[in-house]
């Protein structure tokens, strides 16, 4: 392996509408705080892909650019398949996650017919229209701790039941009465939790970091600075949880 850990964020000019691509920075910073050296590479075209990749972040974009983003992701289909099964963690948020699925159904505007966009098909399930957009806090019980964040999406996610990221404590998540949020398959993590989900939920960040360090033959121990920053994250999560009538932790 190379000495420096490389975290790539895919096509951020199309996929970063809620700051989701910035999760790459969170991984790099925590890797540094754990004593490793790390860099973030923003990849706007397949030709810019570094030779070695340790983790991948795919953010969320606007519906008008779904097909453009999908076509870009297709140029990395083989790499994404390979990474997701060989210990390179992939975090995909919002529409970035939907595009990894089998497909996205778009509600027709003004009562027009439903339109479907094919996904790149590396995750089970598909995105289907909701009655109305959900824009609210989302709290999820997961094996990486209670995850707290914000969701802003116009579609539910069907058929992730086999391997969700967690169970919804507050909010909508995958919807359709599933009571579940997100999907995890191999090293691929899909979630509606937008924005800096890894900063606010370091338990999930450290799971991704442990996988990335393991593959590099390193041992991941949370750094001292991370421990103090994680106290800030805990306060931010608790503020939201308490407002929603959940217990502080």
């Amino acid at each position: 392996m190379s000495d420096e850990l490389t975290i790539v964020t895919l096509f951020p000019s199309l996929l970063n509408s809620n700051g989701d691509a910035e999760n790459a920075r969170v991984l790099a910073r925590r890797a540094e705080w754990a004593g490793a050296s790390a860099r973030v590479v923003a990849v706007e075209d397949a030709s810019e892909l570094p030779a070695h990749v340790d983790a991948v972040v795919i953010g969320s974009g606007s519906d008008n650019e779904l097909e453009a983003a999908r076509d870009k992701l297709r140029t990395l289909l083989e790499e994404l398949r390979r990474w997701g099964t060989e210990g390179v963690p992939i975090l995909a948020v919002g529409t970035g996650w939907e595009l990894l699925s089998h497909g996205i159904e778009l509600a027709g505007s003004n009562g027009g017919p439903v339109r479907a966009i094919e996904g790149i098909g590396i995750l089970p399930g598909r995105a289907v229209p909701r009655e109305s957009r959900v824009t609210d806090d989302l709290v999820v019980k997961s094996k990486f701790g209670r995850l707290v964040g914000f969701e802003n999406h116009a579609r539910d996610y069907n058929h992730a039941e086999a391997s969700p990221l967690g169970r919804v404590l507050s909010g909508s998540g995958n919807g359709r009465g599933s009571g579940q949020e997100g999907v995890v398959m191999g090293d691929v993590f899909g979630t509606h939790l937008h924005g800096p989900v890894l900063a606010k939920n370091p338990g999930l960040a450290d799971e991704l970091l442990a996988r990335m360090f393991r593959r590099a033959g390193l041992d991941y121990q949370r750094g001292e600075r991370a421990a103090s920053v994680d106290e800030i994250a805990r306060a931010a999560r608790n503020q939201i949880a308490v407002r929603l009538g959940l217990e502080s932790e």
Partner: protein, 424 residues
């Protein structure tokens, strides 16, 4: 419109008196709420009744500064202008403001109305309005939880633009606005303003627009910002003589606001437009509170900096004096979910003495991941402000307070600065 609205106006005034008795200094939106309920046509009919028409200023950012500049320019030309006071850019507030000045026939003394309009609320009442001129400032990534994405903002601006009877003034650097111009199909004039290649080059992070046009506007095509230096800018009108305009604060976005105000004043006044009057009156508007001006507070000099969206956040941080020794940074409840701020690179701050506001933890988290050193977190803004002002005088720079709109309002109230000009 006769005395049709007289009962509603009288009732609105009674409600206003009652609201003020109950809460001195407050209750400004309540009379509007009541009148909009009992006389739903009052607001739009009154707005459409000005003899020289209605001008609407809308877009993601720069609305309030540009509106003030435009009003100053029109008044400089001898026009009597009605404009909406600060924070009254929603229907209730606007109706309340109109009630203050309307006669019982619903008429307001004045030649022309210039209104700053929130894109969301503006689109809601657009169908009933007949503006003579609409100014579209820009489409920025702003308030994601309200508007979801830039296409939606552009759609709302288009709805307002389609109502214009004479001209739609647009920012030529904004690709979304140029698309709107295409869809207007030449039904109205579309004067432009924009920045030069040099100005864009001096802003390596760009202008904060959601999408930029591929080429800069040629100087002969409108009002062009040629250069920006501190609190002044050089502009040309249709490629004519270079003119210097004084700005209310430093920063490229204020120069663009001035260009927008010049282009709009010209569209409104036609051949009565005098560039010399426009430039001098625009240059005379006072610094806007929270836009990088300094004030004397409790015997110490304080600079106040407002961040409203990712673009102004980044620009304002980039424009801070790098030697600034003491910083208080507060984000409040106006930012529902601060995720969309994360693309902003805050590392240039280096350190922040006190992080405050109801979203203090979220802000501290972002600063931490940019390796900005944090002195401490104090969620109680009043306490934070008191302790910040009580700190020993800095040896370098001035005490600097950076805040979101909600924290700004709370800070002003806490310091008793209510008489100071507000940006909204």
């Amino acid at each position: 419109m006769g005395l049709r609205y007289a009962p509603a106006i009288l009732i609105g005034r009674c409600v206003r008196v009652l609201a003020r008795l109950r809460k001195p200094g407050g209750g400004s939106a309540v009379p509007g709420l009541v009148v909009n309920k009992i006389a739903p046509g009052f607001l739009t009919e009154t707005l459409n009744s000005f003899p020289e028409g209605l001008v609407i200023v809308t877009g993601s950012s720069g609305k309030s500064t540009t509106t003030k500049m435009l009003v100053a320019a029109l008044r400089g030309h001898g026009k009597k202008v009605f404009t909406n006071p600060s924070t009254a850019n929603i229907s209730q507030g606007l109706t309340s403001a109109l009630l203050e000045e309307a006669s019982l026939t619903g008429r307001i003394a004045g030649d022309i109305a210039v209104l700053e309009m929130d894109e969301g609320h503006g689109a809601l009442i657009a169908d009933a309005l007949k503006p003579k001129v609409v100014l579209l400032t820009n489409v920025m990534v702003d308030q994601i939880d309200r508007f979801h994405d830039s296409e939606m903002v552009a759609g709302m601006l288009e709805k307002i633009a389609l109502r214009a009877t004479q001209a739609v003034v647009v920012n030529a650097d904004d690709a979304f606005l140029e698309q709107i111009v295409t869809r207007l199909r030449g039904t109205v004039d579309t004067p432009r303003f924009g920045v030069s290649v040099d100005v864009l080059d001096a802003n390596p992070r760009g202008l904060g627009l959601a999408a930029m046009t591929p080429r800069r506007m040629p100087s002969e095509a409108g009002v062009l910002v040629r250069s920006v230096s501190g609190r002044s800018t050089e502009v040309t009108i249709d490629g004519g003589a270079v003119t210097t305009v004084r700005l209310p604060a430093r920063g490229t976005h204020y120069a663009v606001d001035a260009a927008a105000a010049l282009a709009t004043a010209r569209a409104v006044l036609g051949n009565r437009f005098d560039p010399a009057i426009a430039v001098s009156t625009i240059g005379s508007i006072p610094p806007v509170f929270g836009r990088g001006e300094t004030l004397q507070v409790r015997g110490t000099t304080v600079e106040f900096v407002l961040v409203q969206n990712p673009a102004s956040f980044q620009l304002n941080i980039d424009h801070l004096d790098p030697d600034t020794e003491q910083i208080l940074f507060a984000v409040g409840s106006d930012v529902r979910d601060p995720s969309y701020f994360w693309p902003v690179d805050t590392s240039g701050l280096g350190h922040v003495d006190i992080v405050s506001g109801s979203k203090a933890d979220e802000l501290a988290l972002q600063l931490s991941y940019d390796n900005v050193q944090i002195g401490r977190i104090e969620r109680d803004l009043g306490k934070a402000v008191d302790e910040f002002l009580a700190m020993p005088e800095p040896s370098r720079g001035v005490k600097t307070v950076i805040f979101s709109a909600d924290s700004m309002r709370r800070t002003r109230a806490h310091l008793g600065l209510s008489a100071v000009e507000a940006p909204e």
